[in-house]
Symmetry: C2
Subunit: 319 residues, 2 copies
């Protein structure tokens, strides 16, 4: 896993993945006394950065693999990314999703051509279900984060951040990333190591699901006691990945842990000041940027915008 | 008023005005059976395309004029654009706003450094108040649409649309524009006449405030019987401008008239499918694209995203 894989992914992604804008607002700068820049990956195809990793992985398959199809397990955003990327490559896609995922994510995955298989997050292992189905049908498993080509695709976000920040004179910053298994965080950290070495990446997680922050502090992989109970469903994972953790450990600063309420408040600020729709798990980095970071310049990735109207209305109630 | 003024404005705007993305969603294409592209000017600085015209006008002033300051009358988005553009040029700005404008727009204009003067939309003429203040204080009046440099700035949106559409192979389309006095619509029409001659611009207005559509049909300027009662406050104006109407008449196709309910439904689709925040008046073109247009390819400009949580929650109720 290295910068060359990210650069190669960027070449495969060109023309298919959207270069998302780096947004700002004088109101957010005034609120915090810092310069706040927001990489709006909620505007990516399928509404999250996951489309990058999915496109990277599907486009790296050989013809035979593509014809047989792919399988993915995901709380939603990876699912949509894989479903659309597979459809655009003419490949079948089976998606394993938790039965308690937001209804809109399940419906969207089906509408994008994915065959959805539901499982119970509390009693079943999605990894086991995925492995069995992959074997039975000859499908290639695309892991949500512990996969070199997926990390490479997510890392293209970091290449864009480096170039867009440089264009406005920013070379030093804290780069805050909403973090589940660490695919985006490790990819961005690798990209910035090469392209913007004065930027430091920090993972951001919900309270009670801060396995990455605790793993970084301990120097070895720690897991979460539970995988349910957060509104930030998109970034709740059991523990950092075997591929991602060594990268995170080598390159990242300490993790931020944010409350559900601060994620909702950050969603409301993004609505009012940036006019973008961000889901709770996609707002963790912005919450850390607005309410915790002490850096002069903070770049937060708004990783996803797939949120239903009930949750979004709740966020607007925090204004 | 010609394409050279728009190209000159584009040069002055470079690096200060955001190139906004041209968004799309397979769900909107499926909903309509057409190709729908959305120019997201709600992501522009100050949350609307108005910042373009404001920057163009302020940057065209001589040093003496800039030092004395500028004055603008506006229902809100032009106000914010002028306030921020003036502040970034070090020029004082007086903004005349209707007393019933959304509270957030008044507060934002003040926060951006504008001195706000309120008037009653039903009993007072903002044009008269503006002219008097301009004379008394030596301020340069920046009209919201009937001003060559403002039209030139708004027209840069059209230059971007032509280039972004061409990059994805689109040269023929209906281009739908939310239309008040016609500054953006006429500027975009001039830009596309030069850069994408197979695209046709159509103004989009709220029911009961369709002065431009009726003026185009009649071949001469018609006015609205009332200026209050629409949720699309950003695009309610008395009648097309003396500068803009001849351009609209020469270049535009017939106007679309949309209901308040369809604007709210379009806001909900933009929330769910594009993850952008659009205000009612900024959603008129998207409403016409989704529910009325018969063209194979439709480009709708989402002109603004300055909406308070009450109105946005109402829109989400239309899902």
């Amino acid at each position: 896993m290295n910068i060359d894989m990210i650069r190669a992914a960027a070449t495969r992604l060109r023309g298919y993945v959207r270069e998302t804008p780096l947004l700002s607002s004088p109101f957010l700068d005034e609120l915090t006394g810092r310069r706040i820049l927001v990489k709006a990956e909620c505007l990516q195809h399928t509404g999250s950065f996951k489309f990058r990793g999915a496109w990277s992985a599907v486009s790296a398959l050989d013809d035979e693999q593509r014809k047989s199809g792919v399988i993915a397990f995901s709380s939603g955003n990876h699912a949509q990314g894989v479903a659309l990327a597979a459809r655009m490559h003419g490949a079948p896609a089976v998606i394993i999703m938790p039965s308690n995922a937001p209804a809109i994510k399940i419906a969207n995955t089906r509408a994008l051509g994915g065959e959805v298989v539901l499982y119970d997050r509390k009693t079943e292992s999605r990894e086991e279900i995925g492995a069995t189905l992959a074997k039975d049908r000859g499908l290639t498993l695309i892991r949500p984060y512990d996969d070199g080509q997926v990390i490479a695709g997510q890392g293209t976000t970091g290449l864009e951040i480096a170039a867009q920040a440089r264009a406005i004179g920013v070379t030093q910053a804290e780069v805050l990333v909403c973090c589940g298994g660490g695919g985006l965080t490790s990819g961005v950290a690798l990209a910035l190591e090469a392209e913007a070495p004065d930027m430091r990446v920090h993972p951001c997680e919900p309270e009670g699901f801060d396995d990455v922050a605790r793993s970084l502090a301990a120097g070895e992989i720690q897991s979460n006691p539970s995988q349910t109970g957060s509104i930030c469903d998109a970034i709740v994972t059991p523990q950092p990945g075997d591929l991602t953790f060594p990268i995170l450990k080598r390159l990242c600063g300490s993790g931020y842990t944010v409350s559900d309420t601060d994620c909702l408040r950050a969603m409301a600020e993004a609505f009012q000041r940036l006019r973008i729709v961000v889901e709770p798990g996609g707002a963790a980095a912005l919450a850390a940027a607005l309410y915790q970071s002490q850096a002069d310049t903070v770049i937060a990735i708004a990783t996803g915008g797939n949120v239903d109207q009930t949750m979004f209305t709740r966020a607007l109630g925090e204004m």
